[in-house]
Amino acid sequence: MSTEVIIAGLYVFALAAFLGYQVISRVPPLLHTPLMSATNAISGISLVGSLVTAGAHYNTISTWLGFIAVTASTINVVGGFMITDRMLRMFKRQPATKTDKKDSTEEHERA
């Protein structure tokens, strides 16, 4: 591996770390569980490494390890995104049925 590749990788790592810190510090505690499942789904991107290992026929053991790795990361990608969405769907500012009533009382108070 050439020095340039290594250094470029380290740059990417350092910049991603700073950016990650900035972005993730802004996530409110309200959404910490969805954050965990979302980052988990995203890091399931290791699937791309597993795909090559499973499909390249380097040798039998690699293929098998790759197959298990593809399965495991797919569980995380598919499951992670689905469950994150399932959770996020539940977060509502106000219950739908009560919105009108509450809005009208607020108007009364203002008036």
């Binding site: 990788g9 790592f13 593809v70 995104f81 977060f91």
Partner: protein, 456 residues
Amino acid sequence: MGLLIELTYLAASILFILGLKGLSHPETARRGMIYAEVGMFLAIVGTLVHKDIISYEWIIAGLIIGSIIGGAISIWVPMTAMPQRTALSHAFGALAASLVGVSEYYRHGADVGTFKMTALSLEVLLGGITVTGSLMAFIKLQDWIRGTPITYRGQNIFNMALLAATVGMFGYLIYDPSAHSLFYAMAGLAFVFGVLLVLPIGAADMPVVMSLMNSYAGLAAAATGFAISNNVLIIAGTLDGFSGFILSILMCRAMNRSITNVLFGAFGAEVEASTAGALGSMREVKAEDVAVQLAYASQVIFVPGYGMATAQAQHAVRELANILEARGVTVKYAIHPVAGRMPGHMNVLLAEANVPYSSLYDLEQINAEFPATDVAVVIGANDVVNPDARDNPKSPIAGMPILEVDKARWVVVLKRGKGKGFAGIENPLFFKPNCGMLYGDAKASLIKLADAVQHA
């Protein structure tokens, strides 16, 4: 072709970051996740045309099996079991990373070079620890083994020695990548160390363990990225790793403890007689009396803890709150950062029960409100409302920020029995004159309360 793949990876990286940015607000969160999903799809499709891939049967089999398992889990897992699911997913992610690492080493052996060897070893080390550590956490969360810390004499010294041996092997492998058996021994020890690391950690400290495992799983993925020179893996893994790291720090701060103390302190293992004996007596109250207080209150704050999750009581809380709100009572919810078994656990459960997030309040927001509150209802929470943390510098939890429910006019504690909290620490709140205990299953008690309030 190579350029095309790299471009899909670049697009995926950008979309992932936009996706996480969306999570800064519940209104934008779902859209953000769609960005991330598109990014993931692009990266996977891009990879499928990789020149090394010559056959697709194992890939397709893995994708199908994985989708079925992942989809099934996420459709059927109850929200109360979210910590267990998350622990399992950390294990799966780390397993994938360590297997790719082992495969890469098996294929290249001694030819890998110093840098790649470092990355591979880190990947397998972090991955191995995370796989078994997360599985241990899963087993504890699932109550297959007791949640209290499991300790034995010389545990920390033994663990340290094992860790030192593993790190020693790591160092030697970088010096001499051709030591094959050492590599596999190191991988094996990493798996063993994961078990031993989580064994002495109590269930109440799980929010920290979950966050740490999240961090390790991410860093293992980032190490994979270094090992196979793949930037999108480095970026996604780093984001995941840092997210977990930030959460660990937040959780530790919310308990006023250091990560070292959480990992090696075996917190809650023995009952410490730190509170002076003469506390007085606890006062048991009847649901009917509590109902009257609730019915004629102007503000009520609910304080949920892990007990609400075990009793599956979130819907019952919401029912009671609905009845109170219909009577004109202001209802709020106070959420401690470490209430429950993972970060944000209580928020998700209450959201499931249709509680609007505008009535969920953090520690800092709500504490000023307790003096103006008529009734604080503590549902299966203990240590997070223990006034000893604030008043008694000798308490094992001294300095931990708490929800100051004792400042409310009345406190009602819904509790299964008279036993102490998880950490085995006496809670003086229960003995205060403005505190009443309502024993029994939290869900049953809440239903009884709701019924009684309607007749009040």
